[in-house]
Symmetry: D2
Subunit: 369 residues, 4 copies
Amino acid sequence: MTSKVSRASVELDQQGTEAEGLDALYEKLADAHMIPLWTQIHELMPQRPAPRAQPYVWRWNELYPLAKRAGDLVPVGRGGERRAIALANPGLDGLPFATPTLWAAIQYLGPHEVAPEHRHTQNAFRFVLEGEGVWTVVNGDPVAMRRGDFLLTPGWNFHGHQNVTEAPMAWLDGLDIPFVYQTDTSFFELGPEDLTDTSTPERSRAERLWGHPGLQPISLLGTRASSPLPVYRWQNTDRALTDQLALEAEGHPATLEPGHAAIRFSNPTTGSDVLPTIRADFHRLREGVGTAPRKEVGSSVWQVFTGKGTAAIDGVEHELEHGDVFVVPSWAELELHADDALDLFRFSDAPIFEALHQYRGVIGGGSHQ
Amino acid sequence: MTSKVSRASVELDQQGTEAEGLDALYEKLADAHMIPLWTQIHELMPQRPAPRAQPYVWRWNELYPLAKRAGDLVPVGRGGERRAIALANPGLDGLPFATPTLWAAIQYLGPHEVAPEHRHTQNAFRFVLEGEGVWTVVNGDPVAMRRGDFLLTPGWNFHGHQNVTEAPMAWLDGLDIPFVYQTDTSFFELGPEDLTDTSTPERSRAERLWGHPGLQPISLLGTRASSPLPVYRWQNTDRALTDQLALEAEGHPATLEPGHAAIRFSNPTTGSDVLPTIRADFHRLREGVGTAPRKEVGSSVWQVFTGKGTAAIDGVEHELEHGDVFVVPSWAELELHADDALDLFRFSDAPIFEALHQYRGVIGGGSHQ
Amino acid sequence: MTSKVSRASVELDQQGTEAEGLDALYEKLADAHMIPLWTQIHELMPQRPAPRAQPYVWRWNELYPLAKRAGDLVPVGRGGERRAIALANPGLDGLPFATPTLWAAIQYLGPHEVAPEHRHTQNAFRFVLEGEGVWTVVNGDPVAMRRGDFLLTPGWNFHGHQNVTEAPMAWLDGLDIPFVYQTDTSFFELGPEDLTDTSTPERSRAERLWGHPGLQPISLLGTRASSPLPVYRWQNTDRALTDQLALEAEGHPATLEPGHAAIRFSNPTTGSDVLPTIRADFHRLREGVGTAPRKEVGSSVWQVFTGKGTAAIDGVEHELEHGDVFVVPSWAELELHADDALDLFRFSDAPIFEALHQYRGVIGGGSHQ
Amino acid sequence: MTSKVSRASVELDQQGTEAEGLDALYEKLADAHMIPLWTQIHELMPQRPAPRAQPYVWRWNELYPLAKRAGDLVPVGRGGERRAIALANPGLDGLPFATPTLWAAIQYLGPHEVAPEHRHTQNAFRFVLEGEGVWTVVNGDPVAMRRGDFLLTPGWNFHGHQNVTEAPMAWLDGLDIPFVYQTDTSFFELGPEDLTDTSTPERSRAERLWGHPGLQPISLLGTRASSPLPVYRWQNTDRALTDQLALEAEGHPATLEPGHAAIRFSNPTTGSDVLPTIRADFHRLREGVGTAPRKEVGSSVWQVFTGKGTAAIDGVEHELEHGDVFVVPSWAELELHADDALDLFRFSDAPIFEALHQYRGVIGGGSHQ
């Protein structure tokens, strides 16, 4: 943090002896590990969020080749644990963080490679832009990863991955690593190097228990901090969005705004977010549709699933294509526009701020508060 | 309530003048609308629940012909509102109540009949034992009723029914009418005599919005006292139960006890019960399986969907066949046995007692507390 | 319930053979323990609550002498357990219930008498109109009872009472006995005949742990269904009401309506009601003040602590004096008027209906819905 | 974050062309704002919390003279807003943060000085080590600050302070500034420069509404994210702790561990913490008592109110005297020992981690996990 001096102290500086005394005081304070508020307040407590994280777009046609090249050069295994490459926000001083709270990475697994099992308190998900053939094994339960699927690895569950095909596969990893890092709440434990279950079932056991709409297994009842459903399959997401747009076309309320269908991935045991720190949505815009401007506290990361369009963030327009990942910092104004029909995956840290009663959001751009 | 006299007062009766004084006192108390606790406490506050409701089985092969006969003789329409015939527990003094809190009725709708729209604070559901061809219209949204489906009409939603076929249809209605009646919380309002929407879509609008596992429409987010999903389709229920038994066979925990699969119908916005006052489950027993004895506070009503077996209630065995409805009063011990593979629908008032911290249950029959 | 026949069936009666058929059907239904909805719906599901319980006032100058007479004639002890005389609502068929859910009784304990220990799932409180000298022992912790105090005995806590003085003492008992009775959820267990602790401390142990505003003992943290504070002392209640009226006089919002101060007794571990089934408030009206008309779902019982005034219930005015107890049935309209400054204690079953999402209330009398 | 290279990549470095390729890859990744996980994972995701914040003690006899000197040299007023001097953890790179989430500062207000009104989303409290004569005005309600009092200024409430005496006054400010800063959720608004109410009542209006144990004003019912009680008075805190130790001496469970009394300041509308992000406790150790070792996720700040003793943090012992402030980083082991009877105020960020299901704690030092 740069040192700013408030009006109050500036005036003092213009006077003689007080200024000398003040210099001496500041020196003594520094020695005593003390820092005045009055020199810091404008940076520390801005009138509205003034994030260091910047809006930024990573291009899939740049991301993927780099991940592939890492696949050629860097083995995956114990020690490094994962061949994941983090998107580092240019505003965050070289830290491997997409936003102050969220981690986004492209993970790449070559033919027949295995990422060994471990667990950590960080909450994780995967979103599959394209490809298939990897099974993620969560607490010994193999879950197939396929195009469009959204998969969960909630904190402190052992997990590993294996690619059973001849083709590589890459996907988006999302975690709360930055939040856990900043708050010193990381626990991490290695599991076996070989996967505990190498079978490749069509449906995981947890899907068979929890994947039926509105039905809960009585033997497993009870609320859980994270969703027990390990994967949200693309065909369901696609169908839900298709239904919303069809209902809208039939004249019924269903969409978030005209031409804009949207679903939230939710925890069936509570009805709230899938992970305690991460919210995940999927959005679909009809061709030609633009969204109302929207601002909210906290940050989010988007990935284009299909289609073309633009994201205007605080008035700066960014072109969007298949696979592009972009960041919306806290309180930045976002407007989306679909050139083609546009499908977007999105995750954010909103559950943190809702739980702590710090959440604010505005739609419509009226208020710049 | 019969008047019981406690030991204390009995002893008094044996003495002369006190007894006279006591008689005079009791007379004066009665005049003043006052009643001593000490003459009532054993009935009012038993050591364990002593329900007046009795275990009882209504036979489908008796219920259905009577409903059919009513279909011949009694028109359905404004005034009577529904051709529903309540199961009246023999222990409840001629009241049309299955248990002190729960209403269970067979409702019968002839070819092309319409039951007009109304709404009430009583929470309702329908369970479809057999047949199809009726649409229930809930707040203007027509919902197809088919074999095995579980349908909701939460309190204060307008609803009516129409049969669009040449065949009659009958189903089980469950409501909290007795509870609402006892607690004086009924509001009731007539709607239009003609249905607001007579279309017969394959899927209702609410199913299209809420029927995707783990997905919520962002435009409709928020917790609701009752489930927004209007129907839980049989194919999902069946598949979930099949999956549980298959997982058990593969060696994984999934069932409630060996050979006993069970799901709970749940509210996707909260993960809790579908209605604030009513819990609904579906149970499947493999052929030959018997359940552990089980007791719980509050009452439940069961209907056999398919198969044959027995229910032992407080040690008395009852034969069960397709469509039979039986009642388990509070704290009665229940053991089920499947002769054939047995599928059962069940509803209970447990959410009332859980919400009020009065719930107790025991499994295994060890404690008779 | 009287048998009402709907229009639909009346029309049928006017025709020949159908009527005969209908009679036969009704007979068969009765034999099969089945009752048609269409003959019952108007009584079962009224347009608005139509309670059988009636508004009624019991006069303290009648209650107290009868309790005293019972003190002369009826011993207190094991078997009868308590010398409590219930207020029996004239509309409730001779049941000892003030309302369909609430029990209200006057309990009388003579000089040096002891009521033995027991526990039950019914939730209980005491409100002390006048007198002192009794200690209620809750789970082995003696709690002094004094004028104006509101004392709790939540469900399943052992409790007994002893009078350590030469003077008798009487107080109001409130319980959820009718609700527990109707729902078959009573468990009851005898404790020792002699009190487990006969000491008479100024403050109970639980008061010393929980009686400090906003402070919780860290060793006992956690939410509880019922308040851990065993008594709400009159001096605090009085001071809170005095403060509200003083703040109002100083021009600040504080009162429920002009001249009407009101506090709710609350559970410090949750901020909600003191008992899961019972709400308790205290109200103070300045001399000359009248309240706006008010209706709510569920029933309540009031006792005049000091002052004189009137209660108009559904337009019928009742004179009120010290100690008078009156009942307001569900959805009955209540207006209070203070001739003198009027202090009133009140309890209701509202937590039941709030927990189950059945609560409704209106202020101002505008809507008669 | 320093760049660490995992075993996987080290091995690669030893080979020729791959290493060149790897260097080229890392360069390209840096250009693309991408950072490999495998070089960072050990720092980013440690096996247990590895906080950069250090255990540290600020001495009151150093803090206070510096604050006093600032009082001589630096005016208080609009712009700098407060004469508060933050305790800057030596491990946190010169940021004015006591821990990664918590701000602790000494605020100093000279005779007749006024700190102008503002509001911000940061949650704040004050703890008064010594002195009196300042009123903090929260939303227009003046609240007296006196020795031992714990005062709240929840987020987004306007507040200012005035000293009405001839003597200066200093106190401890605690806020969640670092957390809000890291998460970009700050909103800040200036209020009037002159206080909205300069009166100096003995009790604030909010105390008169909310300061009665277990009683809530019915006109203001409802849960709130932060406590509506603006101050927790020392006489209540002291009495609660005295009661706990007395109960322990009488043989009853009351203390946290032998000789260690402890209370939590709580929100009477929910029973949970006073602020959404900050927990506050008060601890009292009998002379000679030592606490069991204790570790928990998240950080805390302590201030010695009275007495002498030691704090051993991760095995390093620190002497403690009146007014000393010390920090316990995440998962550091703390043992306290009282030479004299020792009174300590403590605040922490635990509500954040409890809300997000990240909380862990151990007592007894057995496990070093």
